[in-house]
């Protein structure tokens, strides 16, 4: 198809625009990666652009041997695995009954769930509740409240509603109760949706720092993101600028080590990213573009 001149110019501009957009998106990573592999002197004097200066791997060696870092990593992995498994289970068994139109009281039950998406008790009442339940500084506090995710539950519910009734009917004729129908018929047929929701939960748990920040003070229970936050805060720009003497500067973590910590914390997400992209995009489409 022959393109007119304005259209060809548009194409060139379009491709240029997106190249720039891609570069802008990747720039912070490349820069940080370079810094993590550079000597501290080069980093602090501002000589690192996109390529490492004074290449060294000591930072990574240090971080991967740091007990506190490894512990935080372990906590995050545990939290993500346990939290995702439990959340997926709870969300699925909640979605199934709500997908049955003949369930008595369905409308009211749905309303009860959806209402919590619009209105909540707020930070302080929730914190006080956790305090009263003696959940502060425990691992469960980081996943228990999140297990009731109405948005995810609705996605699964909608999917279940789309499955043909004949499945349930023929299973019932064979004498199956709802437990069997759910776990042996519906779940196997819903694997893509469930994978998507599992990934939604996993990313949430891996990235959460806020809940850890307000509930966890025990150092051995700090997940990765909170660990990183404290690492950064200990030598944020604020202190870097204010610390004019060598003593204070010594106590703050070298920038190259911080950079390495961040890069390592990003690796799990990057590893899973191809799956994330595929399933998340589908999930967004299912969740938002409803007829």
């Amino acid at each position: 198809m022959r393109l007119s001149r304005p259209e060809r110019i548009f194409n060139v501009l379009n491709y240029t625009f997106f190249t720039l957009l891609g570069v802008t998106t990747l720039l912070p990573f490349v820069n940080l990666l370079a810094k993590s592999l550079s000597s501290e002197n080069a980093v602090v004097s501002g000589n690192v652009n996109l390529l490492p200066v004074g290449l060294q791997l000591g930072t990574y060696r240090f971080v991967l041997q740091d007990a506190a870092f490894l512990n935080a990593f372990r906590v995050s992995v545990t939290l993500t695995l346990v939290g995702t498994a439990l959340s997926l289970f709870l969300t699925t068994i909640t979605a199934y009954p709500l997908s049955k139109t003949r369930l008595r009281g369905r409308k009211w039950l749905l309303l009860m769930f959806i209402f919590t998406m619009l209105f909540s008790g707020g930070l302080i009442p929730t914190y006080l509740l956790m305090h009263d339940l003696h959940l502060v500084n425990t691992l469960p506090v980081l996943f228990l409240p999140a297990m009731v995710n109405v948005y995810n539950m609705l996605i699964i519910k909608n999917y279940f509603e789309g499955l043909p009734d004949s499945l349930e009917e023929s299973a019932k004729i064979d004498g199956a109760g709802h437990f069997r129908i759910l776990f042996f018929i519906y779940v196997p047929l819903s694997l893509p949706v469930l994978a998507t929701i599992a990934l939604f939960f996993a990313v949430y748990f891996w990235n959460d720092y806020f809940n850890a920040m307000i509930y966890i003070t025990n150092p051995s229970l700090k997940p990765m993101q909170l660990f990183l936050k404290e690492l950064l805060a200990a030598s944020s720009d604020f202190i870097r600028n204010a610390a004019l003497n060598a003593d204070e500067a010594m106590n703050t973590s070298p920038q190259s080590i911080q950079a390495a910590s961040i890069i390592i914390a990003t690796v799990p997400i990057l590893l899973v990213y191809p799956f994330l992209q595929k399933y998340f995009v589908k999930g967004v489409l299912v969740g938002s573009v409803k007829e």
Binding site: N49, R102, G121, L129, Q258
Partner: protein, 314 residues
């Protein structure tokens, strides 16, 4: 089993509740854990909202703390501190909406015009990525990039003859940093909804436009934009519903005392003053204020949406 009439209400009039529950006992059993969790973790805290009307003493508990009526709400209205917080919340939120709402739409349209599939997919892979990073990682990336000691942005500024800028410490620039980093993180991801909406547009309309001699640009103007207008309005209404959520997690990860003046928002204020200064009752009142207004906004938005677009949010 006799065939049931379509509407459930008719069968409801015939069977008493306990019979329906007994018949579907396994369904209700499956539902039970979810409901328990819901009641415990979502509804129980709502009871705690009562402390907004009391002088809460943590050792006395909610019931035993004295009732003070609207005292905290009066303080809210009169507090200069809160007024500044509210100002920041609205300013940052509205700025974010004004700047960051249109951008994904434009990017989606431009992306849609890209015919080279490989390039398009690669770019999409790249721009979706920041969405999956935590705000801690994003703040780490940008604190480093914008740093005064060794950050490349400041180096470029210096090379161009400008003074270096402490972006995270400067009240003139910090909000821009918040908006720019939020854009970096979410713009790519936000295009997905619009890209999906494009595929819902009837290709016949494009055909008709082409036959009438419309250039690509006119096609975008007359077919694409009207086609995604409903989704744009819906997304806008949804966005307005969270007007008071100016990005608490982001700001908590990025702010510091120097820039509280321009970036302390309701969410960060409740955290700092509520948990930090332990002013539980007052900040619960603040939180209640935010929740109620947010609720009204979302409901009104849904009403408007149903009325004019014939579809609601759920």
């Amino acid at each position: 089993m006799a065939s049931r009439p379509f509407g459930a209400s008719r069968s409801r009039a015939r069977t008493p509740v306990w019979k329906s529950v007994r018949a579907d006992w396994d369904l209700y059993l499956l539902l039970l854990p979810g409901i328990c969790f819901l009641l415990l973790f979502k509804y129980a805290p709502m009871y705690g909202i009562a402390i907004a009307f009391k002088d809460f003493r943590i050792f006395d508990g909610i019931a035993a703390s004295p009732w003070v009526g609207f005292k905290h709400f009066e303080r809210l209205i009169e507090s200069g501190e809160f007024a500044a917080v509210l100002r920041n919340t609205l300013a940052i939120s509205l700025l974010k909406i004004a700047i960051l709402f249109p951008v994904p739409i434009v990017v989606a349209i431009l992306l849609n015009e890209m015919k080279q599939m490989l390039f398009k997919r690669s770019i999409q892979t790249v721009i979706y990525l920041p969405h999956f990073l935590s705000w801690i990682i994003v703040s780490g990336l940008f604190i480093d990039l914008l740093s005064v000691n060794g950050g490349i942005v400041n180096k470029w500024l210096e090379q161009m003859g400008f003074e270096p800028v402490a972006f995270f410490l400067d009240n003139r620039y910090f909000r821009s940093v918040l908006i720019a980093t939020a854009g970096w993180k979410e713009t790519g991801w936000s295009t997905i909804v619009y890209l999906a909406a494009f595929s819902a547009i009837d290709p016949g309309l494009y055909e008709a436009a082409r036959i009438d001699g419309a250039s690509r640009f006119r096609q975008i103007w007359h077919v694409t934009l009207p086609g995604i207008a409903p989704i744009i309005v819906l997304m806008f209404i949804l966005r307005l519903g969270s007007l008071f959520e100016a990005g608490t997690e982001q700001i908590l990860a990025m702010y510091n005392p120097t820039v509280y003046k321009v970036s302390d928002v309701i969410g960060t204020y409740v955290y700092r003053v509520g948990l930090g200064r332990q002013e539980y009752s007052f900040t619960t009142a603040v939180g209640l204020f935010e929740s109620v207004i947010g609720f009204i906004l979302v409901l009104s938005g849904n009403v408007l949406s149903r009325k004019y677009l014939r579809r609601g949010i759920w």
